[in-house]
């Protein structure tokens, strides 16, 4: 790094007052201390979460992960994460499934199709979607979207496709896994589309011209050249979107309805790891229940770390492949 070379150079310079060297030392120590502090912070987070969950880990061990139960009744307490891992998986998976094609479409529209004048404003609007706080989106979800879905889409899907177990009897209140999936998709949308947009902008124009020169249509260029070129980055974008969905507690808990079971009906209630924690924390009565909730948090933390590291790895690998160095973006 040039700055380090500059330092070495400065050190070789003939006369510098002693006071000045102290200044350098102090700044480096303080700033380095801050960096160290951040590292310690992350370690502290992991430690505190493990410590908070310790009672539950000792009681249930790894079986906690698979047990489908959540019974806080005194004397019959039994806790397990199975139902919530399932809920997290289902909501995240379907939200991503819903959001991914729409995000790709938005990114393509903004890079290839939109007239130049509206590109800027539309991009800004899509990014504004990301700025909506989750509690506001959840408020809208439980008071507007949920009831609307309950009276329109849910019965329609149930009537038409009710033989698929996903589309069982509609919920009574509008709060359902289905509503949560839509809300999560709305949250994932701006993340995946803005990263994809940058990826598509980064496809070299010579490559596109080479394809157009053969006499193929725009969609064929997108499918045959742009997508393959950007594929690594798109994978990372999807994973980052997944991470967003995994960790969302507030909006999900507002709209998902609650429930401790594993079934396929998207129109009933349920819970995810994050939403269960948000829902039950304040009413937690026993130490074991609290510890179990924190155990849920620990599982969530592990999932998030895996997702985060996976995304970072993909970004590094595709940057190497394309010979560019891009700062990773969360």
């Amino acid at each position: 790094m040039t700055s380090a070379e500059l330092t070495a150079d400065a050190a070789r310079r003939p006369f510098t007052g002693r006071r000045v060297q102290w200044g350098d030392l102090i700044l480096q120590v303080v700033a380095g201390g801050a960096a160290l502090g951040v590292t310690v912070l992350v370690g502290l987070i992991i430690w505190k979460v493990v410590e908070g969950a310790r009672l539950s880990i000792q009681t249930y061990g790894l079986g906690f992960i698979f047990r489908v139960a959540w019974n806080p009744v005194l004397g019959h307490e039994l806790y397990g994460a199975g139902s919530f891992i399932f809920g997290t998986a289902v909501t995240s998976f379907f939200a991503l499934l819903l959001a991914a094609p729409i995000s790709m479409g938005i990114a393509l529209y903004l890079t290839e199709l939109a007239p130049a004048v509206i590109r800027g404003p539309v991009t800004a609007l899509v990014e504004t979607l990301a700025a909506i706080p989750s509690v506001v989106l959840g408020l809208w979800g439980i008071l507007v979207l949920g009831p609307a879905l309950r009276t329109t889409i849910q019965p329609w899907l149930h009537d038409g496709l009710g033989f698929i177990p996903l589309f069982g009897p509609p919920s009574s209140s509008g709060a359902s896994i289905f509503t949560a999936i839509i809300i999560l998709a709305i949250m994932i949308l701006p993340i995946v589309s803005s990263i994809s947009r940058e990826l598509f902008l980064g496809v070299p124009s010579e490559l596109k011209e080479g394809a157009y020169g053969l006499g193929v249509t725009r969609w064929e260029v997108v499918r045959g050249v742009m997508f393959p070129y950007a594929s690594g980055g798109i994978a990372a974008a999807l994973i980052l979107g997944l991470g967003r969905a995994l960790g969302e507690a507030i909006a999900v808990t507002q709209v998902i309805g609650g429930g401790v079971f594993i079934h396929w009906n998207l129109f009933s209630g349920g819970d995810t790891l994050a939403s269960k924690i948000a829902a039950s924390y304040q009413g937690s009565t026993t130490k074991l229940q609290t510890a179990s909730l924190i155990y849920l948090g620990l599982i969530l933390l592990v999932f998030s770390l895996i997702v985060n590291l996976l995304a970072q790895w993909i970004v590094r690998r595709s940057a190497r492949k394309h010979g560019i160095v891009r700062g990773g973006h969360a």
Partner: protein, 297 residues
């Protein structure tokens, strides 16, 4: 189609009709996708405005909530607005200096392996779900001591830190090395160069990053849920006790069955949303102005 009329002469067709139809379909779908995103944004903002504006009055901002009120006494969410101001301000005071220092260390002093490692750690911190941060701060500060505004501020600061650090690092990297070299060449020490030359150049970008981070955490609920939520109804500026905050207030009101509570929730949501949107737009405007300034140099 015009291509067909010249078949046999020059322009061959080769199933072009079908391919063009597929192309047109895909282009329409892309256009529809963009429309969907804008429509969602429009619907949400419109909903919030439509339900929030009627309930938005001075009382909301100045009066305290009255729990279980059976009469229509004027009440509001003053404690939440004040609490948010206090908590977010304290969080910024905590996160900003640390974030800038980390960025300075990584960009100006750290050897490459340390820089990569700490950057990775910052990314990890960024990826920790807000609710887990809440659990962490709960275990760190609340257990045994009770909730407090300070703990809430600390939780938000943990969320702000990676954002401030990353944007500061990007800005510092944009400051041309020639500037540093000029200063060092004059015999000015490293620390002075950094603080008097490099930092002032970066102020614009740091400001932008900070505003964006504030906009992000002002709306965060999860970290405060277990850390600063058991609150009384009186407005308080004292962070030693738990303070109410706007997002938590909205959350609680949204779970209530009382429509009057819902109305207040919409109003508060409107204020919060407007604040965040204005802050984001402001940051974007600042960033564009900064970019122009940097290019002009």
């Amino acid at each position: 189609m015009s291509t067909q009329e010249v078949t046999g002469h020059g322009l061959r067709v080769d199933g072009l009709g079908r391919r063009k139809a597929v192309n047109r379909l895909m282009e329409s779908l892309a256009w529809v996708a963009a429309l969907i995103a804008i429509a969602i944004l429009g619907v949400v903002v419109f909903s919030v405005a439509r339900r929030g504006l009627p309930a938005l009055n001075l009382d909301l901002l100045t009066k305290d909530p009255i729990p279980f009120s059976l009469t229509n006494q004027p009440q509001g969410l003053a404690n939440a607005f004040v609490g948010t101001i206090v908590i977010v301000s304290l969080a910024t005071l905590m996160a900003l200096p640390v974030g800038i220092l980390v960025a300075i260390y990584l960009n100006e002093f750290a050897p490459a392996p340390i820089r990569n490692g700490v950057t990775m750690i910052l990314d990890i911190l960024n990826g920790v779900p807000a609710i887990v941060i809440g659990i962490f701060v709960f275990g760190l500060f609340v257990v045994g001591h009770g909730q407090s505004g300070w703990a809430g501020a600390f939780a938000l600061a943990c969320l702000m830190l990676p954002l401030v650090s990353r944007s500061t690092m990007e800005i510092l990297a944009l400051v041309p090395n020639s500037l540093r070299e000029a200063s060092l060449g004059l015999g000015v020490a490293r620390w002075r160069t950094t603080l008097s030359i490099v930092l002032p150049q970066s102020v614009g970008g740091i400001l932008t990053g900070t505003v964006l981070a504030i906009a992000r955490v002002a709306g965060e609920t999860a970290p405060l849920l277990f850390v600063s939520s058991f609150v009384g109804t009186k407005t308080s500026w004292n962070p030693l006790h738990a303070l109410q905050s706007v997002p938590v207030a909205i959350f609680e009101l949204s779970e209530s069955p009382d429509p009057a509570d819902h109305a207040r929730a919409w109003a508060a949501a409107f204020v919060l949303l407007m604040f965040i949107l204005l802050a984001s737009l402001g940051a974007r405007w600042l960033a564009t102005r900064n970019r122009r300034k940097m290019m002009g140099r």
